[in-house]
């Protein structure tokens, strides 16, 4: 197979914050590297495609989380299998919480998650909006985005994606979760558009699994320079450097 297939979970429900951009970013970067790329959407009640190389899930309002909750539990075993097999995933905000073990909605409803990440998520009464949300990660260095969430995430095993430099993340200290090649985070922007290193980490893993070569070229470098300027713009004025100290 010379094309990568990305499974986008609930694009009609979890579409509040432009995280569908993550799928578009992965597609564009794969195509610029000469790889075919197919995006397949999944909505509640549907069947997952037979072959999946990458998974993307974004965020949506509480009402949408309540609606997709039952389906998440249903496809949870398949998603855990994919994660265990090393399929790269990017899960943002509500999508991250839904792919965790469980999520409690503001009205107290408990939603059983997919269990890809060893997290439990509790609502908070206040909301955190961080215009320049900065996280230091092992896999992609310093990443920058926007935060807009009102939960506390407890990570029971697995590593966080990184350490919070500005903003709140899971709990004020750690941000996100990493299980193999699956990444959960609160970073918007979209996260992969602003932080191509993270996108390349996922694409390289997907290509490797598929026996393909994901090779960067000048077209990627051109985009990466623009993405860097965008990150620089976000951190301008908050006294945080765009790169972490070595």
């Amino acid at each position: 197979m010379s094309a990568l297939t990305l499974l986008e979970l609930y694009p009609g429900h979890l579409m509040m914050n432009g995280d569908m951009g993550n799928a578009a970013v992965l597609k564009r970067r794969a195509e610029l590297a000469g790889l075919g790329f197919l995006i397949v959407g999944h909505e509640p009640g549907g069947a997952l495609p037979d072959h999946v190389d990458l998974v993307s899930i974004g965020t949506g309002p509480t009402s949408a989380q309540a609606v997709v909750g039952a389906d998440v539990a249903l496809i949870g075993p398949q998603l855990r299998e994919l994660a265990a097999a090393g399929v790269p995933m990017i899960a943002v905000n509500a999508g991250f919480h839904l792919l965790g073990r469980s999520l409690t909605l503001p009205d107290g409803t408990l939603i059983e998650g997919a269990g890809v990440f060893a997290t439990t998520t509790q609502p908070r009464s206040d909301r955190t909006v961080t215009d320049a949300f900065v996280v230091d990660t092992e896999i992609a260095g310093r990443v920058v985005g926007v935060e807009n969430q009102s939960v506390t995430v407890t990570l029971h095993e697995h590593s966080p994606l990184g350490r919070v430099v500005t903003g709140r993340g899971n709990d004020g200290k750690a941000e996100g979760a990493v299980n193999g090649n699956a990444i959960g985070t609160h970073l918007h922007g979209p996260v992969l558009a602003l932080n191509p290193a993270l996108a390349d980490h996922l694409l390289a893993a997907a290509a490797r699994r598929a026996g393909l070569d994901y090779r960067l070229n000048a077209a990627h470098a051109e985009i990466d320079a623009v993405a860097r300027q965008a990150r620089e713009h976000l951190v301008r004025g908050i006294g945080v450097a765009v790169d972490a100290a070595a």
Partner: protein, 428 residues
């Protein structure tokens, strides 16, 4: 009674002059007069024979306020309205300050006020509107409004302050739920405006309204509409109003403008009972000027400059969907205060093939978005004025038209810049 107002009004008016001399309007004089005379707004609006009506919604407020104002004026009424953007309590008080006499006399018949959703409850408690239109609930400014459900809740609270009639968009998921609830309560007259199913089906992205996941699939009774958009082609629309069909050429293109017109007609009829004439209203809509920056076209020498607003996903998408083919000369400019650029990725930009200038303080975010959409762009120039001048100095596009897709502040800057040019160019 009135005498008590003289001093606060005098001070407020002086402050207003002072802030204007410093450049631009300000809500501060309004805030100040409300501190000195908390009953200021009450006292002033009580003089309006037709009371106050308000315009609400995620998008289209300024356009609809402009339309209803034009319709009311065509019916011979003296209208007090707030300049677009001044849609918070202090802002309205500031605008009132500019109109009242020293004893607080307001020489108008009706107030037609655009209201921000987040401040709607407070402002409507003060204004006691007889009627309100709510245009739509869209995903908008999530850094301050968070979720559409929260906005729908704000509208529910605002509806509780309206005294007679509420006008709602039948095609909006949240508003249809709200309207059904209000109809059941029976306190307010609920009137609907809508869009014919065939028109909705042929709109590339519909009306870009938010989904109401919690209430999807609920069986609903049919809702009769007062005004319905039967077709929308460019700026031409056919609207059926209480069964009478009228072809109307609006001042700006797009289905969103046609839907706003249907809402404006419905609200106007509710606000002017006994006086409303459909012929008068339609001719008012036909002869209306665009609200600045909303589909406005400005002639500069041998060029036409068209300004489209992109202050949210819905406004950008509806404006792109209204384009007649691929524009051959395009500038997109993004504001610094557009805090979360993520929503740019929710927009379908495929109608664009090429962009000449990305501009505004956050130009780089537009550039990044275009890269990922595979749409090439030529220049990055963060100054909207410089980018605009460079476009005008460059070759004339085949269409003769430069299409400017601008965030709010950049729209204001571009307009100011073009106005200045007009003065310089004299009779051009």
């Amino acid at each position: 009674m009135r005498f008590k107002l003289v001093l606060p009004i005098l001070i407020g008016k002086l402050l207003r002059v002072a802030t204007r001399l410093r450049g631009g309007g300000s809500a501060f004089p309004g805030w100040f007069v409300m501190k000195l005379a908390p009953g200021f707004i009450d006292d002033v609006i009580a003089q309006l024979s037709h009371g106050v009506i308000v315009v609400l919604g995620s998008n289209g407020k300024s356009t609809t306020t402009n339309m209803v104002t034009g319709i009311a004026r065509a019916h011979g009424l003296k209208v007090f309205t707030n300049p677009s953007g001044a849609n918070m309590p202090q802002g309205v008080a500031s605008s009132l300050l500019g109109q009242v006499s020293l004893t607080g006399k307001l020489p108008h018949d009706i107030g037609i006020i655009e209201v921000d959703e987040a401040y709607g409850k407070v402002i409507c408690r003060a204004l006691k509107p007889r009627a309100a239109v709510i245009l739509n609930v869209q995903i908008d400014q999530i850094y301050r409004l968070f979720e559409p459900e929260r906005v729908a809740g704000m509208f529910r609270d605002i509806a509780a302050e309206v005294t007679e009639t509420i006008v709602l968009n039948r095609e909006d998921n949240f508003l249809s739920t709200l309207g059904d609830r209000l109809a059941e309560e029976g306190r307010l007259a609920v009137e609907w405006f809508g869009t014919a199913p065939a028109v909705l089906a042929s709109a590339p992205h519909g009306l870009v309204v938010a989904r109401d996941y919690a209430n999807e699939g609920a069986v609903r009774a049919p809702r009769a509409v007062t005004a319905e958009v039967l077709s929308s082609e460019g700026a031409d629309t056919v609207i059926a109003f209480r069964g009478e069909q009228r072809s109307i050429r609006l001042s700006a293109r797009g289905l969103h403008n046609a839907v706003d017109a249907a809402g404006a007609l419905t609200l106007s009829a509710a606000a002017l009972p006994g006086e409303f004439s459909l012929d008068t209203a339609v001719s008012a809509l036909q002869s209306m000027k665009t609200v600045y920056g909303r589909g406005e076209t400005i002639t500069v020498g041998d060029r036409t400059v068209e300004i489209l607003l992109m202050k949210s996903l819905a406004s950008l998408q509806m404006n792109l969907d209204a384009l007649e083919g691929t524009p051959d000369s395009v500038m997109i400019a993004f504001d610094e205060h557009s805090r979360d650029p993520s929503w740019l990725y929710a927009a379908d930009l495929s109608v664009l093939r090429h962009v000449d200038y990305v501009s505004g303080p956050k130009a780089v975010f537009i550039g990044l978005r275009l890269h990922y959409a595979g749409i090439p762009y030529d220049h990055v120039e963060t100054s909207t004025e410089k980018a605009l001048q460079a476009m005008l100095d460059g070759p004339r596009p085949a269409s003769g038209r430069h299409t400017l897709i601008l965030d709010y502040d950049q729209m204001m800057l571009a307009r100011k810049y073009l106005g200045y040019r007009d003065l310089e160019a004299g009779a051009a």
